[in-house]
Amino acid sequence: MTLTLTLRTAPTVPLEADVLSPDRLSGVSALEAAKLTVVHGNQRADLGEFFQVGGAADGELHLTGDLAQVKQIGTGMARGRIVVHGSVGMHLGAGMTGGEIVVEGDAGDWVGPEMSGGRIVVKGNAGHMLGSARRGSQIGVRGGEIVVFGNAGNEVGNGMRRGLIAIGGDAGDFAGVNMLAGTIVVLGRLAWRAGAGMRRGSIISMHPAELLPTFSYACDYAPEFLRVCLRHVRGLGLTIADSHVNGRYQRWCGDGIELNRGEVLILDSAGTASRS
């Protein structure tokens, strides 16, 4: 049986519910779950003050309601599954190492900060700092996958070291900034200054993008790995056209200020990329 939580009373100030993780709820009854502690602003509260709890925890957690004020769902999650029928607040799946989170609505800023495994799927839009390093930290996502069907804000994958971020819509400025490795696929528009400071890693764009002056054009080709990658992304639910899989891409290397070992791949049919 699944543990189901339905938002009954909207929090008046941000609610921090890091307890909402299948690991932490393993074997917990609905009654017990309702007594678990959440942080409502500067005070403790029972989960049951806000949520109608039903079922029992068996590794799967279903949340329903507009949870845009609820932060830190799935913090440190290692296994199991969370499905959110609604939107969620910041820090979804922070530091998660395994399992899966599916959000039917939107997610706030900081989805999957410094996660190292597992998968987060956001069917709506996501905020800024999707899959990013925390401030001051040089290393962001260390593994795992984040899929956003809609748009994402600025600094997607800041400091990313491994893993995959796939965005069905547009990405904001500085996607893949300071990337160390990993892959970011953007099916919509890539905004300004993608890949600034990247050392390694790949940013894939299906639309023309203005690149920094420190990125150098290499060639047009059909990267074999990209076929594998895009087919994988297709398997995660994003719409990948055959023309994307079979397409030819411009390879731009950068960032020249750093190792110059990263790349931005821009679908050729999208037209000529231009330097900014």
Partner: protein, 302 residues
């Protein structure tokens, strides 16, 4: 027992535990995948002389490969754990890396041992190579003049079976060959099985050691050579003038048994007198394929 008048002798094929890897080679067209597969598995008939045995398992359609391109699946076997990666590294390096349009993927993702093949091959990139993790698997992208060669970092290795076999005893060489061809055709594309010899067929069955030359590890199987019927302790029934052998290697015994059934059945045709198999008395190899049991009958053989 008889299958369409062909005697299935009550004996068994004795096979060995080998180490097997499966490679999926894709190409821009089926042609180039096949070319790479053929070169890769060339000169890989028997561990006795080739250190490895390999063959194309089957051709793969676009829907069956990791990158959605046509490909071939190859099984690669060695006797011990150590030589499998060595063989793969040197052979893939010379025959797939070099072959236009191809990429090379692991076909045994659940293989308990992981062979660092792509990891070794990456250094051809001279530091310019890059890696990518997709769906939990790491790939290496090695820059080449054409573009990039993509190879998976590790390949699964598991225990396999080598040396499944049966012998077609026929009235004459034409009948033997026709039966062998029919058997090979029947077994083609059978999952988990490859036939490492030319066209799947071997005419030079061997015995262990030599009666005359100390250094030879294997010499002609004189007991089945028709020309030696008068000179040796021949095991050829009367009327048999030509023998061809089919050797099967595979990922597991059931796959070999299933393929043998198809192959033997197809080989039972006019001009074939009997089907038998090679063994060493059952003491050397752990896998025994009893011909009659395979064909659905009873066997008394040890």
């Amino acid at each position: 027992m008889l299958v369409r008048g062909v005697l299935i002798e009550d004996t068994f094929a004795e096979a060995f535990t080998m180490r097997v890897a499966r490679l999926v080679i894709t190409g821009g067209t089926p042609r180039w995948a096949r070319e790479a597969g053929l070169k890769l598995t060339g000169f890989a008939t028997s561990v006795i002389g080739c250190k490895c045995e390999a063959g194309i398992e089957r051709e793969l359609s676009e829907t069956e490969t990791p990158d959605g391109r046509p490909g071939v699946s190859v099984l690669f076997l060695t006797m011990d754990k150590e030589s499998l990666p060595q063989q793969l590294i040197s052979r893939i390096g010379q025959t797939v890396l070099t072959c236009p349009t191809t990429a090379c993927f692991d076909g045994l993702p659940d293989g308990p041992d992981r062979l660092p093949v792509g990891k070794a091959l990456r250094v051809f990139g001279d530091g310019f190579q890059g890696s990518k993790v997709i769906g939990g698997k790491r790939y290496w992208r090695v820059p080449v003049m054409e573009g990039e060669f993509l190879v998976e970092e590790t390949f699964g290795m598991q225990k396999g079976v080598g040396g499944g076999n049966f012998l077609i005893l026929a009235r004459d060489a034409d009948a033997a060959l026709a039966a062998a061809e029919a058997a090979v055709d029947a077994m083609a594309n059978h999952p988990g099985v490859v036939l490492p010899f030319p066209g799947g067929v071997v005419r030079s069955g061997s015995k262990v050691g030599s009666k005359r030359y100390k250094k030879m590890v294997a010499t002609t199987n004189d007991a089945f050579c028709p020309t030696l019927r008068a000179l040796t302790e021949s095991q050829l029934p009367e009327g048999v003038n030509s023998v061809l052998e089919i050797v099967l290697d595979g990922t597991d015994a059931p796959a070999i048994a299933a393929a043998m059934r198809l192959g033997i059945d197809a080989a039972c045709r006019p001009g074939v007198q009997a089907i038998t198999a090679g063994n060493y008395g059952g003491k050397l190899g752990p896998h025994h394929f009893h011909l009659r049991r395979i064909m659905g009958g009873e066997s008394q053989a040890a």
